[in-house]
């Protein structure tokens, strides 16, 4: 799944997520929150509910151990 602001898109490959919570913890602007839906392996992946706050720092992407999250710049 993905969510976009006018500047950035946060993509989550939900079935790779293992619910470690590191992305939520390292995000400096609290874009991500713990989700309530389980993926096919039984893990609750995060949701970028506050996507409009995203500053594109990619800390979530760089710190995700599971290659499950990445950030794109939205092209105008």
């Amino acid at each position: 799944m993905s969510a976009s602001s006018t500047k950035f898109r946060v993509n989550i490959i939900t079935n790779r997520c293992k619910e470690c919570g590191i992305c939520i913890g390292v995000c400096p602007t609290k874009v991500l929150v713990k989700g309530d839906k389980h993926n096919e392996h039984g893990f609750r992946y995060p949701l970028p509910v506050n996507i409009e706050r995203c500053i594109g720092c990619r800390l979530c992407e760089y710190n995700c151990p599971d290659f499950a999250i990445f950030v794109e710049v939205v092209k105008k």
């Binding site: 993905s2 079935n15 590191i22 390292v26």
Partner: protein, 278 residues
């Protein structure tokens, strides 16, 4: 929040055997962070034309870290416990145009494989060795490792680890390596930076990457929550530009100094036997 389905793929997917994902590592394991950072360094080198994808070979031994060879979409070898450096040395000597990267845990590289590490560093063998330190034997269930802190409970030191940890950075620095650095998965940009730099060098290049093992090590120290362990490690990491080797002790109490301990450009083993590429 406008939610839509995924349209693009992860920027590192081209270097990963995505059919094998999700990987086997536990939730919050730092290995994936380390691997991602290594891949971004490689990506940068490939994009700028200073590394050919087909020339890169990953060699691993046995252990959690060694499983990186499962997931990299390059030539890869998952060999024997402790023997990755020896295997890698053979491959590099036989075909010097290869860029051979060894990845292993501290048990694999500095425990059972310690002698090969010493001798590869001694001969300044043209290899990159990335030792991922998680302070414990994780794959076998939490036994004491070369880097386990003094006094810590493990399954084989139930009365507390009586041995101080091995400072591998210091050991390798005392030999003939061209590059010795310590990084941490809590600082992935630095992992990427050091690996990128090592890829442009010759001779023996060694990077210790401190990592988090919440499932086993975290449990032993009461930090099973991945982010708790991650942020604790992060708080203990002290980044320095050119740290002195005297600051390199692996001490949970005092914290860990990361940075580039040693950078030089001595002839590598291949140069010395007339098989260098330059």
């Amino acid at each position: 929040m406008v939610v839509s389905t995924l349209e693009s793929s992860h920027p590192l997917d081209k270097y990963l055997r995505t059919a094998r994902l999700p990987h086997i590592w536990c939730p919050g394991c730092g290995l994936g962070i380390a691997l991602g950072s290594i891949m971004r360094a490689i990506d940068k080198r490939i994009k700028e034309g200073t590394l050919k994808k087909e020339n890169l070979v990953f060699v691993t031994g046995i252990g959690c870290s060694a499983r990186t060879s499962f997931y990299v979409n390059f030539d890869a070898a998952h060999t024997l416990h402790g023997r990755a450096i020896a295997f890698a040395t053979g491959a590099k000597l036989a075909k010097p145009e290869l860029e051979v990267i060894v990845i292993g845990g501290d048990g694999d590289i500095a425990g059972i494989g310690g002698n090969h590490l010493l001798h590869a560093a001694k001969r300044n063998m043209d290899l990159i060795v990335l030792m991922i330190t998680n302070f414990v034997y994780a794959m076998t269930g939490g036994q004491v490792a070369p880097t386990t802190p003094l006094g810590l409970y493990t399954t084989t030191t139930p009365h507390g680890n009586p041995e101080p940890p091995l400072n591998v950075v210091k050991v390798v620095s005392s030999l003939n390596a061209n590059y010795v650095a310590r990084a941490s998965v809590t600082h992935p940009a630095l992992v990427e930076q050091y690996v990128y730099k090592a890829l442009g060098m010759r001779g023996f290049r060694f990077i210790e990457i401190l990592s988090t093992c919440p499932e086993i090590f975290g449990r032993h120290i009461g930090m099973r929550d991945p982010f708790t362990l991650y942020s604790t490690l992060r708080s203990k990491v002290i980044v320095k530009q050119s740290p002195s080797i005297e600051e390199s002790d692996l001490d949970w109490g005092k914290g860990f100094v990361i940075g580039e301990y040693l950078v030089r450009d001595n002839p590598g083993y291949l140069d010395r036997i007339g098989r260098g590429l330059k």
